[in-house]
């Protein structure tokens, strides 16, 4: 497996609370991504990063923000979690081949 870890792996929180998910890589890859996985919707891109402090929005970015202060870390923040953000979140990285390597996923439940 590519050196990519996500934390926390599971989290239950209440509506309106902030949540931060962390993605850490040891591969020194330039590109990092956050996707959410929902039944019937597949994988949808939230945000991605193409370098330190360089990020861009994906197709479902509303309600999410990201930060990348170091090559190895890509943080996804829900400023005020809502029930619609209950999902499984996947981090991915890619290098020169263009292949995506995924983390194990973080299951978030917003009550």
């Amino acid at each position: 497996d590519a050196g990519i870890t996500q934390s926390p792996r599971h989290k239950v929180t209440e509506t309106g609370t902030p949540v931060t998910l962390r993605c850490h890589q040891t591969e020194n890859h330039r590109y990092m991504y956050w996707y959410r996985q929902d039944p019937g919707h597949g994988l949808r891109l939230i945000h991605y990063s193409y370098g330190v402090k360089d990020t861009d929005k994906g197709e479902v970015s509303d309600g999410y923000s990201v930060s990348r202060s170091k090559t190895e870390d890509f943080l996804l923040t829900l400023e005020s979690a809502t029930s619609s953000q209950t999902s499984v979140y996947f981090c991915a990285i890619s290098g020169t081949t263009g292949e995506l390597f995924f983390g194990e996923g973080s299951r978030l439940t917003v009550l």
Binding site: G42, L43, G98, L100, F102
Partner: protein, 109 residues
């Protein structure tokens, strides 16, 4: 905008039978197509990509630009093929992948 459609949410076939998972895309340029697979309790992983034109675990997929399709095929399904399969597209020059809705394949003994 790019879009990937996998029309079957669920697909069930018997062991030894042929299997075909459908994938259609919409993109006016020259796409790069992928199939990713997620086995139970494992990470999503690349199964194959059209530019490599290789067969992985007995699966093949041919890009048909006329029909804008990239269907995944295997002549004889095995129980270990049971998994979630995602078709994905990369538009020319982009670093983002657009995924389809996924097809859950179940191989019955």
């Amino acid at each position: 905008a790019q879009r990937v459609t996998q029309p079957e949410k669920l697909l069930s076939v018997f062991k030894g039978a042929p299997v075909e998972l459908k994938c259609n895309y919409s993109y006016s340029g020259s796409p790069e197509l992928f199939w990713y697979v997620q086995y139970s309790r494992q990470r999503l992983q690349l199964l194959l990509r059209h530019i490599s034109r290789e067969s992985i675990k007995g699966f093949t997929a041919d890009l048909n630009k006329g029909e804008t399709s990239f269907h995944l095929k295997k002549p004889f399904a095995q129980e270990e093929d049971s998994a979630m399969y995602y078709c994905a597209l990369r538009a020319g020059g982009a670093q983002k992948l657009v995924f389809g809705q996924g097809t859950r394949l179940t191989i019955n003994p």
